[in-house]
Symmetry: C2
Subunit: 302 residues, 2 copies
Amino acid sequence: VSLLIVGSIGIDDILTPAGSARNTLGGSASYAAVAASFLSPVRLVGIVGSDFPRRFLNLFRRRGIDLLGLEIVPGARTFRWTGRYHENFSSRETVEIHLNVFEAFNPRLPAAYASSPYVFLANISPRLQLSVLDQVRSPRFVAADTMDLWIRTDPSRVRALIRRVDLILMNDEEAVLFTGERNLVAAGRALLSAGARAAVIKKGAHGALLFPGPGMPLFQVPAVPLARVVDPTGAGDSFAGAFMGHLASRRSTAPPALRSAMAMGSVMASFTVEDFSLGKLARQSSAALRRRHRGYLGTFRL
Amino acid sequence: VSLLIVGSIGIDDILTPAGSARNTLGGSASYAAVAASFLSPVRLVGIVGSDFPRRFLNLFRRRGIDLLGLEIVPGARTFRWTGRYHENFSSRETVEIHLNVFEAFNPRLPAAYASSPYVFLANISPRLQLSVLDQVRSPRFVAADTMDLWIRTDPSRVRALIRRVDLILMNDEEAVLFTGERNLVAAGRALLSAGARAAVIKKGAHGALLFPGPGMPLFQVPAVPLARVVDPTGAGDSFAGAFMGHLASRRSTAPPALRSAMAMGSVMASFTVEDFSLGKLARQSSAALRRRHRGYLGTFRL
């Protein structure tokens, strides 16, 4: 069944210890949509300018992504981000950011999208995420991602968001920042105490933790072990998109589906970090995905 | 069957973000021996002074550890270490170290120990580890641990050690330091290229990686998720001791035994970090161990 994804779409310049890339496809919704597209039908809602390269539109189309909700603003420029990663990918800085067309973004769902059963609110401002929530009709499962910027600048809306969705995803640093708990198990529990029905804390190369709900035992996956990382950008977005795509494809949000969604998220994220942008993930075959998925499960099956 | 453990035994003063403890039982062999004692018969080889508290000897005895190889030097003082952990346990410094009786340590195995089928060379100088290797007769499986100090000061002996044992264990920082590879999958492969038959890289709160041999797929375990850590000292030693105790108890070093040894190591290490010294681990019941082991496996079983 269909998965609605709303978030940022942009053009990135990226410098990492492994190299650099200019004018690549970026944005939380781009990564999430492409990752999910291997698993379920995807409806993408976002905004770009008329400078948005046709090859990026074609990439979305090749992945079968429904672009009815993609707003292309004539004469406007697409959101741009320049980022740099430091030694061993341990930290990153935003070198430049130009909101451009994003500044006036006010997502309006096409009528057909309002009844999407699965909804992923990829990283955009919590104000916009809440406005999308107001437009969907009784979705089966809504997940939201966020980032440190919103936790710092608009914490009350992040708190409101958390209470309105079925699952909140954060990375480790964001979870620590939001909860004040430096221990991630404590941080996950604090997210549940803050009203999250369920929470995922993404730990990058160290895997991810799932807190399925108050009083329920946590679940964890290690990451897909990789000997070489090229660009971590979008790993968390790919994880989340694949997680939601998996739930939509299984039409289940029961604990076994949530657990296998954690594994699927890890697999998709692993392709993302092996190249800049969606260079590697977008061109995978289903056979390649299945092969890596099987190999990955073998790395932690007793 | 019997597991021979050789390493350091000492008295620690420890300061962590969670508190402090003075005059506690420390040393790589102490942690390894107590962790292994829940799984197999343990023979402990080490050296202490006559100031070594009787209560520590009694702790070893209560755990059924064979102390025939424990040298107590009259009039000499026991090895002492003072350590301090910084914010969120991310780094530690040695505040004071007194080798004392350790300075003249030259391990001599009791005759009965020479044919021990399983041998763990816990962290001491590689010179002493190699001298123990010269004294054992055709052991079935030998594992060795080491530390950054020896990698910096005596790398050639560490290299020699790695080629002579069946398994080398290092933590993540040591593996990066020794191999020059910042990526841990690459570091593990580099350990195999350096002649290790198998390697384990311990990642603390992020679990551990097993490289079972050249060309064999790696195996990984997440750590036991804990909401509160008190003192990480000895976690790696407990992991290694439990790992070896598990192999000895199963009388197997085949891949399935190595994999379940990774899980057993994680369980024992988790008790260690929940209190100072062996305060929590040493007083566990087998029922408590089994309960945590079962719960832990559930955290990453799909």
